[in-house]
Structure formats: C-alpha cells, structure tokens
C-alpha cells in the first residue's frame, strides 16, 4: 500500500533530449501545481545550440520546478527528483542532486550506443554507481508504446508520448489534479485526434502505473500555500516587461515605439511587442543596437514613448546614445535583459552582472535612474514605473530598466503583491540610507554621483523599490485590479498628440507659441548647468 506523506516543498527537474518535450511537460506540471494553490518558481534550461545532435550532453533540455505550501523565492538549487529520459540527461544533471534524491529514468534509451555517446562505459542504472540515490529505472517508452497501441500510430510516433507518461506518473506521485492536463491536450491536439488520444492515454497510463505498481511506496501531498486571494496566471519576465511597457504607454496616452536589435535573451520583448501593432505599438528591428536606441530616441523626440530592449553587449553599445538622451532630457526606457559573461557571453544563461554597467557605464556624468525587477511578475511593475519616471522626472528624462534574473523562461505565479528576491540574496543586505540619493525618484543629476559609502547594488534595487512606488495600494491582489495601480503610479501626459518637445518642456520655458522652435538650443544646457550648448565645440 502506498502511504501518503505531507511535505512542505519539493524541487523536480525534468530532463531529456531537446526533442523529448521536457519544456511542455514542465509547463503542464506547473499549471497543475498552480491549480492546487502551491507557491512555485520555475527555471527552464535550453540547450545553447539551435539543434544539438540527439543524445548528446549539448542537446539536453531541462525544466526545473520548485513548489511549496509557503512563500518561496527561487526555483531551487538541488532537485529532490530528477526525471531523466536518456543517459545524457542523467549525466548532465547528476552532479546537482543531493544524496537520497529520487531518479526516475527511462531505461529504454540507456542503450550501449547512447551510453557511449556521453562517455558511460557501463550502464549507471545497473553498475551500482547511483547507490546514493533512490533510482526508479523504468521502461517509460515501452510502457507508453503499449499504452497507446490502440491508436494505430507507428512505433516512433507512439513513443513520442512518453513525456506524458512521465508526467502522469509524477502527477500521481505528487497528487496533482489531472483535469487541467487532459483539457489542455484535448485543446492542443484538437485537429489531430489520434495524437490527442495517444497523449491522453499515455498520461493516464503513467498515472495508473504509479497507483498500481509497488515501485512507489510513498505518495506526497503538498498543501496550498497561503496566497493572497486573486486571479493568477503564469508569466515570463519578458512578457510581463512587454505588457508593462504597453500599460505605461497606454496610461500616458502615448504611442509606444520600440527600437531593438535581436539578441538572446531579450529578443522576446521585440517579438512580443511586434505582435501588438494594433495596440499603438511600433517596433523597429534596427541594423544594430546603436541605431535601435537612436531610433527610439528619435521617436521620443517626436512625442512617442521611446523604448529600447537588449542584453548586456547591446547596452554597452548604446551608452553614448543614452548619455545623449540624458542631455536632451527626452524620455527613454532601456531594458537590459541580462545574460552571463563579458563579450558575447553566454546568451542562454542568465546572470546578474550588469548592474555596475547600467549604473556607471557612461562617460562624463550622465546618470540614469536604474530599476531592477524582483521576479517575472515584477517586470510588469518595473516597466510601468520606468515609463512613469521617464515621463515624469522633469530634468532627468530617461530611465534604464535592467530586468534581473528572469528573462525568457522561468515563470512564477504572478500576483502583484508577492515580493520575491532574486536567487542570490546578499548575505546581509545593507539598507539604503538617507545619503543614498539615488533611492529617491527625483534623482538629481549631480547628486546621483554622491552615493553613500555603501552603494550596495542588490540591496539598493530591492530596498528602494518600495520607496520608489509609494502610491501603490498595499493590497491589490488580483490581476483585475492592475489598471488601478497603473492609474495611481503612472502620470499620464496631458496631451493626446504630444508636441515635439515633451510637455514639461513646454511648460517650463517661456515660449511664444508652437511655431517657436527651441529644442536644438536646449541641447544639454540644463543638465550640466552650462550656459551654451556643449555641441558648440570642436571635436
């Protein structure tokens, strides 16, 4: 008999070949987990190659999910459970497992050839080398093929449902509901009934296997986390960022103009906003990052909200133009979706190492407000806030918004009242002090450089986030109420069809009328306090 045990949290990693459908499997498990009301956080991990050879380490794709009956903050470091669909998936992930972790492996793919491909001399499922773990070596593929035999698919086609078999098994093991996935499969494969039925059958067979076999003596339950009431959805950082930018622009009554050059992991912002052309969004794929930010700035000069999105290498290239934006006092939002490493770096891996660059990476004193997101959902808020700052601050027009940890993939249950920290919480986060001028949204140009003795980047971005959004209601838990939060935090522009200079410019200068042009001679005069345009210089 299977015991049901209550636990408070678990970390599961699904790993297989790129073609094995691990991302889909993970997504479904996440959705079912969300339905139960657990809190969760996820980390998809794609192969770096577009199409790495099958069965190789380079081709392993994985999806990690951390869920619990309490408020959690990271996708977890060491999986309690690893589902490994082939030897490469086992090898690539084994080092991350703690002693005693559960391994569910599909024996079908542990052939001599596949083992050799990744350098296993002997089959680790059999040679005793996994003694520290609880190994369930199961012929998932074989069982899947058996389960779907009725639908008349070829063997290869039939075996493709093995991920659903694995999902069924895990769904049983962690006591998840099954309706969501069955509905999903019905919808997804509506036009291919054979495939639909095979997938559903495999999913049910996996669930039934857990229930009937003796292999699993314990079954787990994880209670719902005490989440604030509300309607939730999954969201990735880039999507939330895109929606946030749109929300900010909509509240300001301005067209949104994105100038971008494709770069992983920021491209999805370009993709997402490209789909929004009927929302007053123009997207421009420029010839390079410099042109991208230049065009965004030109659009801002014309009265649109100029935005540019990129990753670290692109931000480096944009710096001169960003400093021009500071001088021109035009609104501009720069999104830095961080990747790892210097130079081209590691596009498919994320890291939080651009903060120094975005804070300090310009010549000759051109400070910009910098915001960092705490979670995928927070990317929405941070984007709205960035737009607000860009449009609202009279003398410090542009803002730079690096999204912290979650660019493309990982999703969180997204509710705006959940405040979650990035993975690498500093040991003892210093508090921003009164001397930390940059924690104030007014962000005086010169005083910005007068940072206190502990600039403490991570803590600054976290700590000051609260002080930067003083007007947000403390309880507005459902996404339905998001609009009210926009209206309280985003200062709309007064004119629907904005003049060529931003509104505050018109109100602070004594102009004789719309036909008196002034922008060109205002270039840089104010932020540096100098009396004549710095461009009236040689060189």
């Amino acid at each position: 008999m299977t015991n049901v045990r209550n636990i408070d949290r678990v970390v599961i990693r699904f790993a297989g070949d790129s073609g094995d459908g691990m991302q889909l499997t993970g997504d479904r498990f996440t959705a079912d987990t969300a339905a139960i009301g657990n809190d969760f956080s996820t980390l998809p991990n794609f192969p770096a190659e577009i199409r790495a050879p099958a069965g190789t380490i380079a081709g392993v794709s994985s999806f990690q999910l951390h869920f619990a009956d309490f408020d959690i903050r990271t996708p977890g470091d060491r999986p309690d459970v690893l589902v490994a669909m082939n030897p490469a998936a086992l090898k690539a992930n084994l080092r991350d497992l703690p002693r005693g972790a559960v391994i569910v492996a599909d024996t079908h793919d542990f052939t001599t050839r596949n083992l050799a491909k990744v350098g296993y001399a002997a089959n680790p499922l059999e040679d005793g080398s996994l003694g520290a773990f609880q190994v369930h070596a199961l012929d998932l593929t074989g069982m899947t093929v058996g389960a779907v035999a009725a639908f008349g698919l070829g063997r290869k086609e039939a075996s493709r449902s093995k991920n659903m078999f694995a999902l069924g098994l895990l769904t049983w093991l962690y006591s998840r509901p099954t309706e969501g996935t069955e509905e999903f499969l019905s919808r997804k494969f509506a036009s291919k009934p054979q495939i639909r039925d095979a997938n559903i059958a495999a999913f049910r067979a996996g669930y039934a296997f857990g229930e009937t076999t003796e292999a699993f003596t314990v079954r787990y339950e994880i209670a719902a986390a005490p989440m604030p009431a509300g309607t939730y959805r999954q969201i990735s950082g880039n999507t939330a960022l895109s929606y946030g930018l749109m929300a900010g622009a909509a509240k300001a009554g301005m067209p949104l103009y994105l100038g971008a050059y494709p770069i992983t992991p920021a491209s999805d912002v370009l993709h997402e906003l490209s789909k929004a052309k009927h929302h007053g969004v123009t997207t421009f794929q420029a010839e390079d990052e410099i042109a991208a930010v230049g065009a965004a700035l030109g659009a801002s000069y014309g009265g649109a909200l100029g935005v540019t999105s990129t990753s670290g290498p692109g931000v480096a290239l944009k710096m001169e133009t960003i400093s021009l934006a500071v001088m021109l006092e035009l609104p501009l939002v720069i999104c830095d979706v961080q990747r790892a490493g210097p130079a081209t770096g590691m596009p498919t891996k994320t890291e939080q190492a651009d903060l120094f660059q975005v804070l300090y990476g310009r010549h000759g004193e051109a400070p910009v407000p910098v915001l960092a997101a705490q979670s995928p959902g927070d990317c929405f808020d941070i984007a709205v806030e960035a737009v607000r700052i860009a449009l609202h601050l009279p003398h410090s027009g542009d803002s730079c918004c690096p999204t912290a940890t979650w660019p493309t993939g990982p999703s969180r249950g997204w509710c705006r009242t959940c405040r979650r920290c990035p993975r690498s919480t500093p040991a003892s986060p210093p508090k921003p002090t009164a001397r930390t001028a940059s924690s104030s949204p007014t962000c005086g140009t010169r005083s910005w450089l007068g940072l206190g003795p502990s600039p403490a980047p991570q803590a600054w971005s976290t700590g000051s986030a609260a002080s930067r959004r003083p007007t947000r209601p403390a309880t507005s838990p459902t996404i339905r109420t998001i609009t009210s939060s926009w209206s309280s935090s985003a200062k709309p522009r007064s004119t629907a069809s904005p003049p060529i200079c931003p509104p505050w410019w018109w109100t602070t200068q004594a102009l004789s009328g719309a036909s008196r042009p002034t922008c060109s001679s205002s270039v840089g005069a104010r932020p540096t306090g100098r009396s004549r345009p710095p461009c009236a210089e040689s060189g």
């Binding site: 604030p228 421009f284 461009c535």
Partner: protein, 332 residues
C-alpha cells in the same frame, strides 16, 4: 523670393563657421528655399550628427537636434516613422555619414526612410582639425597621415546606389541655383534622398574643388537630355563596350551617340556607371545633378500602415484582456 521669407528660417544664433567656409552658402540657399516650398518651420526638423556641417540646425529657426557623431540617420528614422507630418532633414559630413555613420546611412537608404540627407563633402575632417576622411584622395597628407593616406576613398554616390537608394544627387556649394534645384527635388521625393554637396573647407582642405571649377570638370545631368557639358557643350558622355561610360568630344561621335540621361530608370545600373565618371583622386571631373530618382514605398509609410491606435478606453480594455491571458487560476 523675398528676404522677409528667408529671415523666417534664420535663427538668433551667431553663425560660427570659419570665414569663407562653404557651409555658409548652403545655409543661405536652404533658408531661402524652405519658405518657397511652403514648408513651415514648425513642420521642419533638422537632425545632424557631429562635425562643422552638423552645426547647421543651430542656424535654422526650425526644430532641430544636434546629436552624436554618425547617428543622425538612425535618430531621424525613429522620428520620421513617428511623425508623418514633418519634413525631416539630416545634415551630415563626409566623416559623420561615411566613416562612423556609414552603416546607418546605407540602411536608411535601403529602407527608403522618408528623410532628406544633405551630405557636406569637404573631403576632410573639419571639426577635429584636419584628418583625412573616407572621401580624401589616396596619398592625402594630413595630421594623421603624415606619409600620405593609403586607402581608396568611397564614391558616396556609387555607395548609395549600391545600397538601393531611390534618390541620389550631387551639387556644389558655390552654385546657388543648382543647389536650390537639387534640394527642391530631394525634398519632393517621398523616401530617402541623398544629396552630396561638394563643400570647400578653406582651413583644412582649401581648393579641393577648384580644379572642377576651372576646367570643364562639372558634368551636369538633366533628365531626358543628352549628357553634354563644357564650352559650347562640346563634350559628351557615351557608353563604352565594357558597360562603363566615358567622356568624348561630341563632334567626333555626333550628338545622337551621346547618352540621354534617365534619372527615373528603374534599374540603377546606368546611374552607377555615370557615378564612376567622378575622379577618385584629385577632382578634375564629376557629374552633378540628379543621378537617380525613382518611386518605392517609403519605410515609415509602410511601418505606419501596419500600426493602429485604438481609442484610449479600447486600448486599455484590449490591454487588460492581453494581460489577463487565457490560462488563469483563482485563489479565494
């Protein structure tokens, strides 16, 4: 043309080019031209990069942006896309447009963004006090090339034609009438217009265009007319067997043999061949006028056609639907 009109486009800034700089003449021609075209100064924006020539916007009483080195075409692209009501000019130099800004220039041309580019070519870096530029002749001795430069210069118009430009022209600072004529056609063209302007820099490259003025060096192109020039139109241009074009005595070949200029030809090959008549070393010979002027949908028009802006409330409602998504769950 009345002086009253011209003054409309004269700003209150003291003009600070060197005495005798060719930039003055272009500025004056521009200021006279604009009111004539009926373009209002509040609908005029001049975006420039950095260089002597890039100070142009200061002196014109219109909107303008003196930006950073080489990036004016990119900035103008964003502006033109956002604002169909504006006449967007780009003012740039041979260094600004062809050296650091080369990429933005060729991409603006291929996209056919609705901007009018005035490229002041003095074959030198003026503002940084005299280094050679991508249009300087081989062997140019400058501060950065004391032993003479070794790189072949660009022919800006060949480059533009290779970059799919729809409007390509050349004029000279010293010929007010020609300057006005070419700029008028350039601004009338919907799409990207590139006008190269030979401009003398008396301080760092004086007399760079003198050989052109002296001899029969300028070859004016007039659409639909045979390409003849020189005293009594005694010289003309014919096509050689190898596909290039060359200069001959009209008397020797007869006027019928002379090429008739077709600025509207859809294929740019002949315009390209004509652009090769320009000397790449010391300038003794160069065609001027409109090399190419063809219709193609402008980038910004096509972009705007894809974009629509719902009414404010609709916009927020549609956005809310997007934000809410399809797959939600509720916590009670």
């Amino acid at each position: 043309m009345t002086t009253v009109n011209r003054k409309e486009f004269v700003s209150d800034q003291e003009v600070r080019w060197c005495p005798g700089c060719g930039d003055y003449a272009v500025l004056a021609a521009f200021q006279s031209l604009m009111p004539q075209l009926g373009i209002k100064r509040e609908n005029t924006v001049i975006v420039s990069g950095i260089g002597c020539s890039s100070r142009f916007p200061y002196y014109v009483d219109s909107y303008g942006l003196h930006s950073i080195h080489g990036r004016a075409p990119a900035i103008a692209t964003g502006l033109a896309t956002t604002r169909p009501d504006l006449a967007v000019w780009v003012v740039t130099g041979d260094g600004d447009a062809l050296s650091i800004g080369g990429n933005h220039l060729i991409h603006a041309l291929r996209r056919n963004v609705n901007i009018t580019i005035m490229l002041f070519n003095n074959r030198i870096y003026g503002l940084t006090k005299g280094q050679y530029s991508p249009t300087s002749e081989v062997g140019k001795v400058t501060k950065s090339t004391p032993a003479g430069s070794v790189d072949t210069p660009f022919n800006p118009l060949s480059l533009a034609l290779g970059a799919e430009a729809t409007f390509v022209a050349r004029t000279v600072d010293s010929n007010r009438a020609h300057l006005t004529e070419v700029l008028t056609a350039a601004i009338a063209h919907r799409g990207a217009s590139l006008v190269e302007i030979y401009q003398n820099c008396p301080i760092f490259n004086d007399g760079a265009f003198d050989d052109l003025k002296a001899g029969p060096g300028l070859i004016p192109l007039r659409h639909g007319e045979p390409i003849t020039f020189g005293p009594d139109q005694s010289q003309g241009v014919v096509r050689s067997a190898d596909g290039s074009v060359r200069v001959v005595d009209v008397a020797q070949v007869g006027l019928e043999a002379i090429l008739v200029h077709d600025a509207h030809a859809s294929d740019p090959s002949q315009a390209f061949a004509i652009s090769r008549l320009t000397d790449s070393g010391v300038l003794r010979q160069a065609p001027i006028g409109i090399f190419r002027n063809v219709e193609r949908p402008a980038f910004d028009d096509a972009m705007r056609a894809q974009v629509s802006m719902p009414a404010p409330e609709e916009r927020l409602a549609a956005l809310q639907a997007l934000v809410s998504g399809q797959d939600t769950w509720t916590v009670a």
